[in-house]
Amino acid sequence: MTYLAKPKFHHPAIELNDLGFTHRDYEGAISTLCAGCGHDSISSAIMRACFELSLPPHRIAKLSGIGCSSKTPTYFLGQSHGFNSVHGRMPSVLTGANLANRDLIYLGVSGDGDSASIGFGQFAHAIRRAVNMVYIVENNGVYGLTKGQFSATSDRGSKSKKGVMNADSPIDLVTIALQLGATFVARSFSGDKDQLVPLIKAALEHKGAAFIDCISPCVAFNNHEGSTKSFDYVRAHNAALNSLDFITGRAPITADYAEGTTQDIALHDGSTIRLRKLSLDYDVSDRGAALNHLYQVHASGEIATGLIYLEDDSSDLHERLNTDERPLNALAEADLIPGAAALARINAGLR
């Protein structure tokens, strides 16, 4: 049994939000991801954002695909309905859910394998349909759950744990989202709470497709052959323990840096990425400029983070379809069934 319930414990001086909920009301089951996995930091940023916005947890629907990242919805918002769908197909399930009940808040969580490879098409189409959602890709540049293969966001020339060189060009989901007409596009880093929490909050308040590409280091890269702490070794030697937790015991990587500056982040596998936080005078309302800026930052070997594009008077799928203001799942017989008289008229027209 790998499901773990959390002990209920209340500190008397604990912080309450406008709904009278504590932070604990936004938690889920205990994470079974590797200690230090960036995905866990994103989970806590999601909890923080929902807490600070005083969102009723049960009014949030959290949907995901398959992968370590897609497991995370179990670990936050325990009072929300969750849906682990199939690999790469969260966007269609979320789209359908959203069509059924426009009144809930939709949070889609995915991985770079999930969204940029097998689910690339679904990612693209959910964005271009302007489904009202927050779509977070927990981007670690690898397949975590299947143990370290390249994903489509892995950089060309980067090396896998096994020393293999990646020959393919990467997909930048942020650029793609911009080109597909997403009306909220951001990138952040799992360890940068100061940046990530406000971004998630803004995304939750946005109407339409809000996309956040969140760089999220995978500690399991450290998991080389011959190590007595490797996944395989630990699993072989101690099946009773939660092996992933046992591997590393690493602390999550964090970042804290000012707008307009860069920071080098050392990942668990020894590689480094340089993040550049967009400066305060960056204009988020110009899609073309955003694409250009991304290109320039990338050319200088850096990764732009922050709110990259925002369209204020955005629309969503329901507006485009002109659907009833009431949730479709709440319509009753009288709204739905045209009745015997209408059928008699249809019959008459078919003779």
Binding site: M1, T2, Y3, P56, P57, H58, R59, A61, L63, P73, T74, G78, Q79, S80, H81, G82, F83, N84, S85, V86, R89, P91, S92, V93, L94, T95, G96, A97, N98, L99, A100, N101, L104, G121, Q122, A124, H125, R129, H318, L321, N322, T323, D324, E325, L328, N329, A330, L331, E333, L336, I337, P338, G339, A340, A342, L343, I346, N347, L350, R351
Partner: protein, 611 residues
Amino acid sequence: MPIESVNDFVVRFANVNGSGSASANQLFARAIMRMGVPIAPRNIFPSNIQGLPTWYEVRVTEADHLGARGGTDLMVAMNPQTWDKDVAAIEPGGYLFYDSSRPIPASKLRTDVSVIGMPLTDIVNREYSDPRQRQLFKNIIYVGALAALLDIEIGVVETLIGEQFKGKDKLIAPNHRALHIGFDYAKANFACPIGLRVRRADKVGDRIFVEGNAAAGLGAVYGGATVCAWYPITPSTSLAEAFERYCVRLRTDPDTGKRRYAIVQAEDELASIGMVVGAAWNGARAFTATSGPGISLMQEFLGLAYFAEIPAVLFDVQRGGPSTGMPTRTQQSDILICAYAAHGDTKHVLLFPRDPHEAFTFGAQAFDLADRLQTPIFVMLDLDIGMNQHLCAPFAWDDARLLDRGKVMTHDELEAGRDFGRYLDVDGDGIPYRTYPGTHPSRGSFFTRGSTRDRYARYTEEGAPYVDNMERLLRKFETAKALVPPPLLDKAAQPTRIGVIHYGSTGPAMDEAVRLLGADGVHVDALRVRGFPFSHAVTDFIADHEQVFVVEQNRDGQLRTLLLAECGIDPAQLVAVLHYDGTPITARFIRREIAAKASVIRTPARREVLS
């Protein structure tokens, strides 16, 4: 001897795709129906938009034989490309109607058919200067000529033209004129009527004439479907389009223009079933319409829907497989892939409508069943039902009927403290309770996943809870037996040891075959299966007969395989009668096959009598 027949013959039109003949041919068919004579028309068309041959066949059948008959009594040969084949297909003593503007060598004609040549091209060239008009009115002119040749009341055709162009009144007079050009020419130049004749009757009654796909789309409206996600594929496209058409009419708020439905043309079948699953998880009634190749793509999601217990309705309009197969021909060859869709041990509920009437009824019922059973429901149509107009009983609806939303625990029930475990079998029927997302602030939320879990929806990889869950799913499938439409028995006039099982679009041909066989002295009891899982009545029927023919339209006897797999029957007891060349099965074929195979069965019985 020329064939002489009143209200019982087959006319076949051979045309070129894109020549605008479809509406003229339909006009011809409807006129006969308006004269109170039942008709069974069928489209035979290529997987191509323009240029290739198409055929339209009208069976005129006062005796109400609505299956395809096979053979052609009157060929309207308008396609030089298919001339030889078309002429060869005419029954001995039949008739050939053709455009005689260009001379045809005698060697291209048959001496045993009556040849009626009308210089159609010359006539239209004389009467019209615009090439498009020439093409379109040529079709109306031959309808006029056929009306004279077959004794179809010209007034009826005129009325139909008036109805067709209602609102575009300017088109009525030119069409009437073209009709009369043909009618008058035939009267003046041919001995009208010929041996084939239409005589006013009262055999149509209050029946309607409609395509199965349109009927199923309307069924989805009455079933309360609000979300349709689909991807275009022949022959299912017109189903989603019909749903949209009816929704625009019936589900749009007249004041605000707001729509009480959502239709998304998805990027592919994976996305369409994904949207259906998401919408149904969230409490809306959702469906997709597709065909074999689409079902292939949906497999992974279907496994998820089965295992995670999410309602979904799929209209599968079957076509010729495997692969792209024969995209515009009919088959019943998705039975097994639908019954066992997805990896792992899965079983799905199938409904087999016979005609548009049942396509509507089962279409609506499928949504109740999906919600009640919390599982995918397949409505197994095929091209023959879906894309042809059929004469069938009018659609019926009881206004007192309520939607069966199945076991959904409400906010108040949760508030009252009812124990909620998503996968608890509270009632012993294998069906657990669910909650819609967002129902209650602190109770009733759960995690939906395709991975194994315990009764409270908590992830676990333990064997026992897995087995517990899989066994409950079997219990649920058992429950489904009583919920799907029961089989219908057509008992022979005399006691017999021969049974026939059939389903879906085979029905009309089967009814006729039963009568023909009976006249030959081969009495059969026919059972029409309308749902899977099979009810006990199906097993009992097989047990009650020595030999059971399973008649279906695929190569491998898929329903037969399903019967063997699910009912534990001796394979020797079930004899396959298979028709799968892409054309609709005919009574002639069934009669021939069963007569041949039944004689083998009857031999021992005769010997007993002799000894």
